[in-house]
Amino acid sequence: METITLPHLPQFPLQVVLFSEVKNADFLRQQLLDGNTDFEYAFLDAAVILSREHVFAACFRAINDTLQSRLKSKNVHSEIVFALSPNNNISESFRRFGVSDTTKDLLAIKVASRDAVHTETHLKESVQGTVVPFTDEVLAGMTDEACLRKAYKIDVVGNEADAYVVGMIALKGS
């Protein structure tokens, strides 16, 4: 597990775990649907994640919107999933960017947990998958280009697309 502090948001450290070859995506999704409060995480499908910067842009946006009381969804974790989506349709954002029954690789994020050790143990117990390092290289290997192209309406997927996608997240909802 990696703990990341975003610049300017020292009071909201992120705990991030990247799992590959996840076996129980349907179970995890069900916990979110049931509103199980033990599962207050942002579960992202790593297939539509370009890079670390991409994830951080969505996290910053979601946390800033939380601070400004502008949440469009239930809590900061669901807002991270929503922030990734370039349009304002909440259920579509969950379908595209959240965990689904077919999710293979999963990025789990917890914002400002008081007990980081508990978060880590709980995640590793609940998610059946292999923990892999959260790096741009590993993420790049998990990317589903077709999905990304469709989600962001882009022709090119790769490093060059980062800036544009981050810009779209920043501009979203304007």
Binding site: P7, L67, V156, E160, Y164, M168, A170, K172
Partner: protein
């Protein structure tokens, strides 16, 4: 110096920092102050890369509702243009997210060949309610500074070399402005201080040590930019640059035509060919009458 300046800047109150920066533990260094906004150097990346924060503080003399609306409109206009340009060659079908008003887009054949991606700073985050925008930091000096830094050498060879380098720089300026116009964007405030000369090896944070004119010309400060493809608007944009160049660099003024030649002829400009020629012809009209079109008659 950065630390001392930053911590005092936040209490010292040119304005109150908008959240979340009011509780940030990063440093802020005031770089420039314009009529409407302040520019700080800070960081916005977990890797410690620098970033530029543009804050549009509240204007106490305006009615609060009007102030909010103007700030929002201006910050969004700037961000949309920057995001649109960073998506050149990436976005499918050239749609800009969050765009309300229908803006006429350039015709297919007119589009920038290589695009402006990488020649404008990328938007990292923004909050139009609170009036701030974070963009990528552009390394290097302003073109204005770079030109001033080159002192003509005593020997004829050096003078000749400087002349060639200057001409080459001006051609790169012409190309980048051509790309911008070809993408359907008018900058609105083209001056040599709104252009950065980014060293080709952009990782060296201390470019001031050299007086070379090498580097990419990167356009900054799109606070007055508009989206348009009309010859008139393009010509006025060039005219503003011509006048600004002449008064900032009087000794180099006679080299300015290099900009226009590159704009209308260079392959990389995107304005080469017929369109570019039309804009230059329009520029002659604009020179005769000035920036503002006569509203009489």
């Amino acid at each position: 110096m950065a630390d001392a300046a930053s911590s005092s800047a936040r209490v010292n109150a040119l304005h109150k920092f908008p959240p979340p920066f009011d509780t940030s533990d990063e440093s802020f260094e005031l770089i420039a102050q314009g009529a409407e906004s302040l520019l700080y150097r800070t960081t916005f990346s977990t890797t410690g890369q620098p970033a530029a924060l543009k804050v549009r503080p509240e204007k106490k003399w305006r009615h609060p509702i009007l102030d909010k609306r103007l700030t929002r409109a201006r910050i969004l206009a700037e961000a949309r243009v920057l995001v649109k340009l960073s998506g050149e060659g990436i976005a499918a079908g050239g749609s800009t997210p969050g765009k309300r008003a229908k803006v006429k887009q350039p015709k297919e054949g007119e589009k920038g060949v290589a695009g402006l991606r990488g020649f404008v700073p990328a938007v990292l985050a923004l909050d139009w309610e609170r009036g701030w925008m974070m963009t990528e930091w552009v390394y290097g000096r302003t073109v204005k500074q770079a030109i001033h830094d080159t002192q003509a050498g005593r020997r004829a060879v050096e003078r000749e070399q400087r002349l060639q380098d200057l001409k080459e720089l001006l051609r790169r300026i012409g190309e980048v402005v051509g790309k911008l116009h070809a993408s359907g964007v008018i900058h609105g405030d083209l001056t040599t201080s709104n252009m950065m000369l980014r060293p080709y090896d952009a990782t060296t944070p201390d470019p001031t040590s050299t007086d070379s004119l090498d580097g990419d010309v990167v356009l900054i400060d799109f606070g007055l930019s508009t989206q348009s493809v009309s010859d008139e608007d393009r010509a006025v944009d060039l005219y503003v640059l011509e006048r600004a160049f002449g008064s900032t660099h009087p000794r180099e003024e006679d080299l300015f035509p290099e900009v226009l030649t590159a704009y209308a002829e260079n392959e990389g400009s995107g304005m080469n060919g017929k369109v570019g020629k039309l804009v230059l012809r329009k520029l002659e009209d604009v020179r005769m009458r000035g920036r503002k079109k006569s509203m009489v008659g």
